[in-house]
């Protein structure tokens, strides 16, 4: 039973083959459960669609092009909101975690805003921003930016003091310490934060497309709720989930490629 011993040790790597096998097995079990519940007639079809109903909905969506358009529109909105939020949150967050002056200025406001439910702000966003794509990007931005700030500030706060002290001892200037030690040391954590918050950005999609949406996956799901088309609701959710899985992998690969020295951090 030496393999069992090896695979159950905490924080130890397991062979990629085994990793993949476990992931596939769990996914297959979930699929089997879905098939059992739907084909087995244990749950009514209008409450839980069968897998082939979802596939047929997907084929219909691909045929008339609507699925691709909806996906493209949503990806555009999410990425715009997310990129604008990240470009601002990364530098401000790093400064917040490292300079008490910046922290005092920004953190209390951030902690106030990040608790606000974005859906409650929609009437105000209509008045201030309008009903175009700016409004949707604003929803995504508000939903992600303030969370990113707090997380990135934490990342930069947890850079060990020893690193800075050693650099000073070796004669580095303040500027060098910030640009050559502090910022590189935050990068692995920053990448992880971006990866996690991109997922959060997606969760705001339905809220974002409540107003003046006539394309997009969020609109598609909302519209399918009217009439309870569970197969289309599942399709929308599945596409969002798959996109999430894909971007997550891209982020992981990007982290390994950009920060090869930080693979174990």
């Amino acid at each position: 039973m030496s393999w069992l011993d090896a695979y159950t040790a905490p924080k130890q790597d397991i062979p990629p083959r085994v990793y993949l096998a476990i992931s596939t097995l769990v996914a297959a079990l979930l699929m089997a459960l879905w098939c059992l519940l739907s084909y087995g007639g244990l749950v009514r079809e209008d409450f839980l669609p069968t897998p082939d109903a979802v596939v047929r909905a997907a084929i219909a969506g691909i045929r008339d092009g609507s699925l691709l358009v909806n996906t493209a529109v949503s990806v555009g909105e999410i990425m715009s909101g997310f990129i604008i939020a990240s470009v601002l949150a990364v530098p401000i967050g790093i400064l917040m975690g490292s300079f008490k002056v910046v922290e005092a200025a920004i953190e209390p406001v951030t902690n106030f805003v990040r608790y606000l439910p974005v859906s409650a702000l929609i009437p105000l966003l209509i008045l201030w921003v309008g009903i175009g794509i700016e409004e949707k990007i604003s929803v995504i931005f508000i939903g992600t930016f303030f969370q990113q700030l707090i997380l990135i500030a934490d990342v930069s706060r947890s850079v060990p003091h020893d690193l800075l002290d050693v650099s000073y001892t070796l004669g580095a200037s303040r500027r060098t310490v910030v640009t050559r030690v502090l910022i590189p040391a935050t990068m692995p954590g920053v990448m992880d934060t971006l990866r996690v918050t991109l997922g959060w950005a997606w969760t705001y999609l339905v809220v974002a497309e409540l107003v003046a949406g006539n394309k997009g996956l969020g609109y598609f799901i909302l519209n399918s709720m009217r009439g309870l088309f569970t197969d289309r609701i599942f399709l929308g959710i599945a596409v969002i989930g798959l996109l999430g899985l894909l971007t997550d992998q891209l982020f992981k690969a990007g982290r390994n490629w950009l920060l090869p020295w930080a693979q174990d951090l």
Binding site: D46, P123, I126, I131, V211, A212, G213, N214, N223, L228
Partner: protein, 328 residues
């Protein structure tokens, strides 16, 4: 151990209680009726608080579920037994031609819904090519389509911008769209804005935007006594309101609550609707042989939704209207 026991005892008791309830079908079944926060549903609270339901031998629980997208799945899953909603809404959720039955009419929008538009838009026909905010698939959308078809127009002739009725009001007031299909209080606000006026309201289309009590056909068949008692209580409540308006306003405002909890606001909003009492219901429903105006409204809704491809089944008014109870 004793701490554990004090913790677990109430939970065990609760589990047991639920188990007993579920296992005793002989106990009087509670009929849950879901509705949104709207003046039209006020007499349900008169019927409850004045004891009409219990006098007629039915146990009713009134629940607020604002969004029809949540209300109908709740009914379909048998978590509730009846819904107060507009005629057109139920059609969207039907998976079989006779899934639901309309058993009694509740109220008719009489100016409570409408379209506010920029001042240069003088008729419904002028909406052509303009941006119009409307909640797709909602009662507002149904209303807009019926008005457009009277002018020989289609929704595709407009630039439709999809959003909820109150967001539509907000968007119109802040000049983001040329017109909005919405309801009170946004009709008043739109009218009061510098650039806007009331283009049309529901007082010109009586019987079109009508709330009804809706239940699953299979449930109605097994609960005829309950349904009859509820319909009777409803008609009694409307009669009571007409005789004692001031007391009724207090009861209704308190019961419906939300943004209508002040009897003054309730009374003001009430001017936009008309209740269906016992006699009104007889005329509005008609009989199987001689259907009343309700049949036309259902037919209109079937036409609008099937033109938009929103209907999942082919159906007809006589499959959905239950003429029995209003004549008892």
């Amino acid at each position: 151990m004793r701490r554990f026991a004090t913790l677990i005892a109430p939970i065990a008791a609760a589990v047991l209680a639920v188990g007993i309830n579920a296992a005793d079908p002989a106990a009087a079944e509670t009929v849950s009726i879901a509705h949104s926060t709207w003046v039209g549903y006020g007499p349900l609270y008169i019927a409850r608080d004045k004891g009409f339901f219990s006098k007629n031998g039915v146990d009713v629980d009134l629940i607020v579920i604002e969004d029809p997208k949540e209300r109908f799945p709740t009914l379909m899953a048998d978590k509730i037994q009846m819904i107060a909603s507009t005629v057109d809404t139920a059609l969207l959720y039907m998976k079989k031609p006779d899934d639901f039955q309309y058993v009694v009419a509740i109220d008719d929008s009489n100016g409570g819904d409408g379209i506010v538009a920029n001042k240069d838009i003088k008729t419904v026909a002028d909406l052509k090519g303009k941006s119009v905010a409307v909640n797709e698939g909602s009662v507002s959308d149904f209303y807009l389509n019926v008005l457009l078809s009277q002018e020989g127009l289609k929704e595709s002739d407009l630039n439709v911008v999809n959003m909820t009725a109150s967001d539509a009001g907000t968007a119109f007031v802040s000049k983001q769209v040329d017109a909005a299909v919405t309801w009170e209080p946004w009709l008043s606000r739109g009218k009061a804005s510098e650039h806007g006026h009331l283009l049309v309201d529901s007082s010109t289309t009586p019987g079109l935007i009508t709330d009804v009590l809706i239940a699953k056909t299979s449930w109605v068949a097994d609960h005829k006594k309950d349904v009859a008692a509820i319909v009777k209580s409803w008609n009694e409540a409307v009669a009571y309101y007409r005789e004692h308006p001031d007391e009724s306003l207090e009861i209704m405002a308190k019961g419906v609550g939300g943004w209508l909890k002040d009897p003054k606001d309730f009374k003001e909003t009430l001017t936009g609707i008309k209740f269906y009492g016992g006699e009104d219901n007889k005329t509005f429903f008609g009989t199987g042989e001689k259907p009343g105006p309700l049949s036309k409204t259902v037919a209109d809704a079937i036409k609008v939704w099937s033109d938009q491809g929103r209907l999942q089944v082919q159906t007809s008014p006589d499959k959905l209207i239950d003429y029995e109870f209003v004549h008892e």
